[in-house]
């Protein structure tokens, strides 16, 4: 099974990759922006996407900061894939948690409601906390229940 991780924070991305490698036999591809995430999703036969809600437009390099930072880049990406006729199962792994505690001015439940428009392809939203292993458990459960 081919999994695409779209996450711009390398520390968080490494944690997700480590967790998936330790617990599942997935072929993992990663991307760190809206643009590279979209291209990776189109170019590969992806079965499942794990993505962050806020991502830069382009990959960050030594000479580029990645262009516009998209607060709802994850959502924009899935929208764009849908328009292209590419529907892939996905889940969101976000650091946003409480109401009013994010640039989004939305809490995790509101974001969840927004994502329901993607129907069955949307598998859920998980709160990521680097000090708490709860996200691992929830991610594992979701993959087992919804993907495998």
């Amino acid at each position: 099974m081919k999994v695409l991780i779209i996450e711009d924070n390398p520390i968080k991305r490494d944690k997700i990759v480590d967790y998936l490698k330790s617990n599942f036999d997935f072929d993992i591809i990663d991307a760190s922006s809206f643009n590279s995430g979209y291209k990776a999703a189109i170019a590969n036969f992806i079965d499942f996407i794990i993505l962050d809600m806020s991502i830069p437009t382009f990959d960050r390099t030594e000479s580029s900061h990645g262009g516009r930072f998209r607060t709802t880049g994850g959502l924009d990406l899935i929208d764009k894939l849908k328009m292209k006729g590419v529907n892939i199962n996905f889940l969101v792994l976000t650091g946003y948690h409480e109401f009013g505690d994010s640039g989004l001015k939305k809490d995790i439940n509101t974001i969840n409601s927004d994502l329901l428009k993607f129907g069955d392809f949307y598998k859920g939203i998980i709160y990521f906390d680097s000090s708490d292993s709860g996200w691992e458990e929830k991610l594992g459960d979701l993959i087992n229940q919804e993907i495998l």
Partner: protein
């Protein structure tokens, strides 16, 4: 008495005669018991009893008692409406008298008879003082006499010493100054009501709704939902005012087709009270819904319909002059009749003035914005009067924001006019229902539905409306959109009549876009966004994607360079094809390509039409590329504010706020020293502070909090949400010294227990316990610091580091900036102030991280080190001890990196500097990447340089190098590389951009002379003529930024050389900050 009442069974309670013979306490006690048992029938009976002492009623005849508290209802209570209706019944004669006076006042007012207006108000005041009277006195002075009424408002405080005037007086003062600009007054009220709504408190929400209902016509606050049960918040107002609020709630609820009262028991009582008062208006709504049209009105409508305009005008003039209320709903007929018959509007009465202004709106006059503003201003002043409701209905029906659902609400509110309501104001289906009328209509009134020429119409808005209707009936969405765009390009006032909400909904709900004209759809969405500040980004992106598919390419600059660009395409390229839309094109591989495409589009547009705004944008777009590069280079990109986005999207609303501030500042400025006392000066200063607070509040919303471009977007997503925490924590994780938690309990650190499996389990267990405590303490320290990296906006001192709360000293600074700025520079000055404040906060963040969090972390490491040394005692566990030892360096490095996050790119202060080599690298790499695909190369010879440039200097140098290189690559000899040489000679850093000349027969001397001949101030115009990309501009930009820059050109060995010299001593003594 209370004891006796307490013993009485609720059903046996009644109003005893004796209750009125004793002290008021007996009445208070009885009322308490009646409220407790919800005996609303008896509450009504008590309040309506003529023997009720005057202290209980809100009839204020003496100044000192005005605004007294009506004690019986101090809190929200569903019984209050019964009490109020009882009081209205008791004093029904006064209300009846008031209604008569209200009508008289309206008619004198519309006839501009100010003396009679004052006389009516005096009569009313002698019976009962009221806000209604105060406001109308103010209206008479301001509108009819054109007086400056500041003194009257000031006098009110002396006349009514018990009146709580502070907020109302401020509102009045702003309203009186809003003749030419009502937006600020409206924004002020709406922001107040929004505060109520956002409070989450039910009572506040309802109080806000009733307040809104009292002050604003329904058009301005369509969301409000009024509830009688919260009327008691206005209990201390006069009975007259209470009645007006009650009546406006009745109209509001009726208009929305809601039950007037949710409590069924009130209905009958209310009807009986209305009949006693004789309020025909309210009875029109409640008791008599199918009222026949008045014969005189019918006659006038008939004259108008058949084109006998002079007769219609004559009859309406007669009604107005003879103070007949039948003129209240005839504004439209009177206005149109005068336009058709070419009779001028007289200046001697307000009725004519209203219609003259209305005619300007209908005919899309250049002055139509001000005309509309003035009419809204009038309608807000006279909110509760019948003619005002009618006027607002007519104005709103022509409003583009109003859709079909809202039309019905507006028409229903007009039912209050009863039999004098015109047929058009009665039914939403008027046009369809009267289609047979078209036979009797003259041609210019739309008799021929196929009419397509605007010149056939005397009233231009009628032409627009007819066309819109025809497109709608024929389901011609593309044609409708095209028509709207064409009309908008011709005259922006036409937007007022567009069915824009319907168009937006239709575009949004299209399932198959293949038949839609995409450029036109994007343009109408852009018009919608411009006029309403609505967010249409998703829809724009969707349609834009489909358009690219149709065009078969993504580089629009190339696609459109091959054709003649028409007006619509020009606006499309200018307004829609901006980086925020272009960056969603996945064929672009980098932000540089996006920016370059935008620059190419701007260049293409400039070749078609040399607009100064495009040249300004070109520089700004390039500047955004620089900041992008700098953010990447110095790792400071975590914090950013997209000021360009704020300016492009919000500048017009800031301009409005600034103008409002100037209006308010001028209110008393010139009289302060001579006429006002010290206390009043303080009040004046406070008022200015209030307006500064309003502007500052908007700045905080945009600069600090906006989720699209404000500071918190970056602070939240790029720092606070796990990024900061992960960056520190990972150092503990990689040394295996911190574990994760499950449901708040830290899990066992298995790494060391496995590694030291041979060590005593007791020691391992103790070490594990200590590491768990360590994990918790470290997470707590990080969490505490992380939690402070937020934006504070409260008045109190905030624990949040980025504290943008409206503190007095900040507001005073803002006020000072506003006082010393003009419309040209105030925005930059305010943004500079916000930058400097953000910089202060960022410095504070650096201090908190470096001086508070870091020592705490090191302290914890030291503590765990000594504890583990003690626990392990002599057991060799060197790896564990080494891991702990390595932590100090790791966390110091991580802290240093994080501290660097808190630097801004883009601030114009004098303390942040960038290395010149970084700026040159950034410019060269930006353009080199773009042209490398086209077979053109840049050969760069770098050297070391310690010169530091301010942001302004960096920006000028970046744009200059970019522009020079772009020109060289575009116009130089094909397949020849462009050389960039950087040299350090004798304290001068020299940058040369060299390209082979295309024409070797060129007269080099003449060319250089002609270029240099333009380097005088008198030809600044070249800045524009050369399209912003000429050598003149490069030189002008650099020498304006610093006297340390010199620019020269020469031709040597068939090579054109642009030389930029940087005199080192001009840039000495600078230090790059952290």
């Amino acid at each position: 008495m209370l004891k006796k009442l307490l013993k009485t069974r609720p059903s046996k309670l009644k109003i005893e005669n004796s209750i009125f013979n004793g002290k008021n306490k007996n009445i208070d006690d009885l009322l308490k018991i009646l409220k407790f048992h919800k005996r609303n029938d008896l509450i009504f009976e008590l309040a309506s009893d003529s023997r009720l002492p005057s202290e209980y009623s809100n009839i204020y005849t003496r100044n000192e008692k005005f605004h007294i508290l009506n004690k019986p209802f101090t809190e929200s209570n569903t019984s209050y409406i019964y009490w109020l209706l009882g009081l209205l019944k008791k004093d029904s004669k006064i209300i009846k008298f008031f209604l008569k006076k209200q009508e008289e006042f309206s008619l004198f007012f519309l006839n501009s008879e100010h003396e009679k207006c004052f006389s009516v108000l005096d009569e009313m005041d002698s019976i009962c003082l009221s806000w209604w009277s105060i406001k109308n006195r103010l209206a008479t002075k301001t509108i009819l006499l054109d007086e400056i009424s500041d003194n009257y408002i000031d006098e009110l405080k002396k006349t009514y010493p018990h009146l709580n005037l502070s907020s109302v007086a401020n509102e009045f003062q702003i309203l009186t100054k809003s003749k030419n600009n009502i937006d600020y007054y409206l924004a002020l009220l709406l922001s107040r009501f929004n505060e109520y709504k956002k409070s989450g408190l039910e009572a506040a929400l309802h109080e806000g709704n009733i307040d809104s209902c009292n002050l604003l016509p329904i058009t301005f606050d369509l969301e409000r939902d009024t509830d009688f049960n919260f009327l008691q918040c206005f209990k201390e107002w006069s009975l007259v005012d209470n009645y007006l609020i009650l009546k406006s709630i009745v109209i509001d609820r009726y208009s929305r087709k809601k039950d007037i009262f949710t409590d069924k028991g009130v209905d009958k009582i209310f009807l009986s009270v209305l009949k006693e008062i004789g309020d025909v208006d309210c009875l029109n709504l409640i008791d008599n819904k199918n009222i026949d049209i008045d014969k005189e009105i019918e006659d006038i409508v008939k004259s108008y319909t058949i084109g006998n305009y002079i007769d219609a005008v004559k009859k309406i003039d007669f009604l107005v002059l003879n103070h007949n209320k039948k003129c209240f709903d005839l504004f439209e007929i009177y206005t149109k009749s005068k336009i058709y018959s070419k009779i001028g509007f007289e200046q001697n009465n307000l009725y004519n003035k209203v219609c003259e202004y209305y005619s300007k709106i209908l005919n899309l006059d250049d002055d139509s914005y001000h005309a509309k503003t003035y009419l809204y201003y009038l309608a807000l002043f006279t909110r509760h009067d019948q003619w005002s409701i009618s006027l607002i209905t007519h104005l709103s029906l022509d409003n583009s924001k109003i859709n079909n659902n809202t039309n019905e609400i507006l028409l229903r509110q007009n039912h209050i006019l009863g039999s004098i309501n015109t047929p058009k104001s009665r039914s939403i289906d008027f046009i369809e229902a009267n289609s047979n009328l078209s036979d009797s209509l003259p041609v210019y009134r739309g008799k021929d539905k196929n009419i397509s020429c605007s010149s056939d119409f005397t009233i231009y808005s009628d032409y627009l409306k007819l066309k819109f209707r025809l497109f709608d009936v024929n389901e011609q969405l593309n044609e409708l959109i095209e028509f709207c765009i064409d009309e908008y390009f011709k005259n922006k006032s036409s937007y007022n009549f567009f069915p824009i909400e319907d168009i937006y909904e239709k575009i949004k709900n299209i399932e198959d876009y293949s038949g839609i004209y995409k450029i036109e759809a994007l343009l109408i969405l852009d018009i919608y966004r411009t006029e309403t500040s609505g967010n249409v980004n998703d829809l724009v992106n969707k349609i834009f994607d489909l358009l690219l598919q149709e065009l078969g390419g993504y580089k629009l600059s190339e696609i459109f360079s091959k054709k003649i660009i028409n007006d619509k395409e020009f606006v499309f390229l200018k307004n829609i094809c901006t980086p925020i839309v272009l960056d969603s094109i996945v064929d672009f591989d980098s932000n540089d390509e996006v920016i370059n495409e935008r620059v190419s589009i701007i260049d293409l547009l400039l070749r078609n039409k040399n607009l100064p705004e495009l040249q300004i944008e070109r520089d700004r777009v390039l500047e955004s590329m620089l900041s992008e590069k700098l953010r990447a280079k110095i790792e400071s990109g975590k914090l950013y504010v997209d000021v360009q986005a704020i300016e492009s999207q919000k500048r017009s609303s800031y301009d409005q706020l600034f103008k409002n501030y100037q209006i308010a500042s001028s209110i008393k400025d010139n009289t302060l020293n001579t006429q006002l006392e010290l206390k009043e000066r303080k009040e004046y200063e406070n008022k200015k502070l209030l307006l500064s607070a309003n502007i500052y509040g908007s700045l905080v919303d945009d600069f600090a909090l906006n989720e699209e471009y404000g500071l918190d977007k970056y602070l939240s997503a790029e720092v606070r949400h796990q990024v900061f925490k992960s960056e520190i924590r990972v150092n503990f994780e990689k040394n295996n010294l911190i574990s994760q938690k499950i449901k708040d309990n830290y899990i066992t650190n298995t790494f060391w227990s496995k590694k030291y499996s041979y060590v005593s389990p007791d020691i391992l267990s103790e070490i594990n316990n200590r590491l768990n405590i360590f994990s918790r303490n470290i997470d707590d320290i990080i969490e505490r610091a992380n939690d402070r990296l937020r934006i504070g906006v409260t008045l109190d001192e905030s624990n949040y580091i980025f504290d943008f709360g409206p503190k007095e000293d900040i507001l005073s600074d803002i006020s000072h900036i506003l006082d010393n700025s003009n419309i040209e520079n105030y925005f930059d000055n305010l943004i500079d102030y916000m930058w400097s404040w953000a910089e202060r906060c960022a410095k504070k963040a650096q201090i908190v991280i470096n001086d508070e969090m870091l020592p705490q972390l090191i302290g914890e490491v030291s503590s765990v080190h000594s504890d583990i040394m003690r626990i392990k005692n002599v057991v060799p566990m060197q790896d564990l001890i080494s891991s702990i030892g390595a932590l100090n360096t790791d966390i110091k490095n991580a802290t240093e990196k994080i501290i660097n996050w808190f630097r801004f790119v883009g601030s114009k202060d004098d303390i942040s500097y960038e290395k010149i080599t970084v700026v040159i690298d950034a410019a060269i790499s930006s353009i080199a990447r773009i042209y490398s695909g086209r077979g053109k190369t840049i050969k760069f010879t770098p050297v070391q340089s310690d010169i530091l440039l301010s942001y302004q200097e960096s920006k000028s140098l970046f744009i200059s190098i970019f522009t020079a290189l772009e020109n060289s690559l575009k116009y130089g000899v094909d397949l020849e590389c462009v050389k960039v040489n950087l040299k350090n000679i004798d304290q001068i850093t020299s940058l040369e951009i060299i390209n082979k000349l295309n024409n070797s027969n060129l007269d080099a001397e003449n060319l250089i002379e002609s270029i240099k001949a333009k380097w005088v101030d008198e030809v600044k115009i070249l800045n524009i003529k050369e399209g912003g990309s000429g050598i003149y501009k490069i030189r002008d930009m650099l020498i304006s930024a610093s006297s340390g820059f010199c620019v020269d050109v020469c031709i040597e060995h068939e090579e054109f050389i642009l030389k930029i010299e940087i005199i080192n001593e001009s840039f000495n003594n600078r230090r790059q900050s952290n």
